[in-house]
Symmetry: C2
Subunit: 146 residues, 2 copies
DNA sequence: CCTTGACCTTCCCATCATGGGAAGGACTAA
DNA sequence: TTAGTCCTTCCCATGATGGGAAGGTCAAGG
């Protein structure tokens, strides 16, 4: 089948299928004489696998590892579980960061009248020095999580 | 003061200060004769404002709006609150998406022995057709949230 | 047989916020 | 004066995704 049909069958856009091929997440599709990509049911199966992993938030790198483990029938289930647990930890870290932001914002918002008057604890909270000193010089601040 | 000092004082990297100037989030810094950027305490205050808003997950666009409201002493607190509430809603949407992924993954992982044996419900869960049909053709799948 | 429309191809660009690094100029302390 | 640290601009990379242009291919219907 053509790339469009494979896309519909797998739920992965044609753009992404070509991209996944380019970055070698999947092997190059067979081509017709006129260089159209063709896909087998097996290829679609792989694409579905990718879509499900992606929908669970796995990165391309993690999916590469998962695909390799999927194909390796003799691998230990512990190998798969390790990737999953690591990803769960990552998700929980992000959830915690989001929860912290939400909590702070809700706190500020709850003290804001939200009417026509100008005084607003939210914006004052951003403006006031809260004794934090120099900010976290981290490569990955809270913002990257959102 | 120079950009390096302003960076340390505000917690915003020099790279980002220049970037924020470029995209007009902040106004162009004054320059010395040798075209070094110089910053006043007031400029640093603005940068701190930006850093705090950023740490709470606001986008550059939202920060533009917040800065304008900050400077406008006659604006209604409702205007600020609206932005904050919208952002809270966005954060909660992301938190929900992450929670859904985490739940699914934990469920799969809990049924995986995690030993040397090859059978693994996690990877089988990705591989099996679960009757989902064509995937969500959305521009923004779950994955974008992470 | 030819046209039309839907598909396919590759290539380049944009997103968002951030950092890396190179090449070269400016300043400061010894 | 020299060494070292700062500054400047410019270009490139990230990750996963989409948009769109320019042009080739294919199938159905007149």
């Amino acid at each position: 089948m053509n790339i469009g049909e494979a896309s519909k069958a797998s739920g992965v856009s044609t753009k992404m299928i070509r991209y996944y091929e380019q970055i070698k997440l999947i092997s190059p599709a067979h081509r017709t004489e006129s260089s159209y990509r063709t896909y087998t049911d097996n290829d679609v199966h792989t694409l579905q696998f990718i879509r499900r992993a992606r929908d669970l938030g796995f990165s391309v790198e993690q999916m590469k590892a998962l695909l390799a483990l999927w194909r390796d029938r003799s691998r230990a289930s512990a190998d798969v579980k390790a990737i999953a647990l690591e990803h769960i930890a990552e998700l929980e870290r992000k959830a915690a960061a989001i929860a912290a932001m939400t909590k702070t914002l809700k706190h500020l918002a709850s003290h804001c009248h939200g009417d026509e008057r100008p005084d607003c604890p939210i914006i004052e909270g951003f403006a006031e020095t809260l004794g934090e000193g120099p900010g976290v010089p981290s490569k990955f601040g809270l913002a990257n999580v959102v």
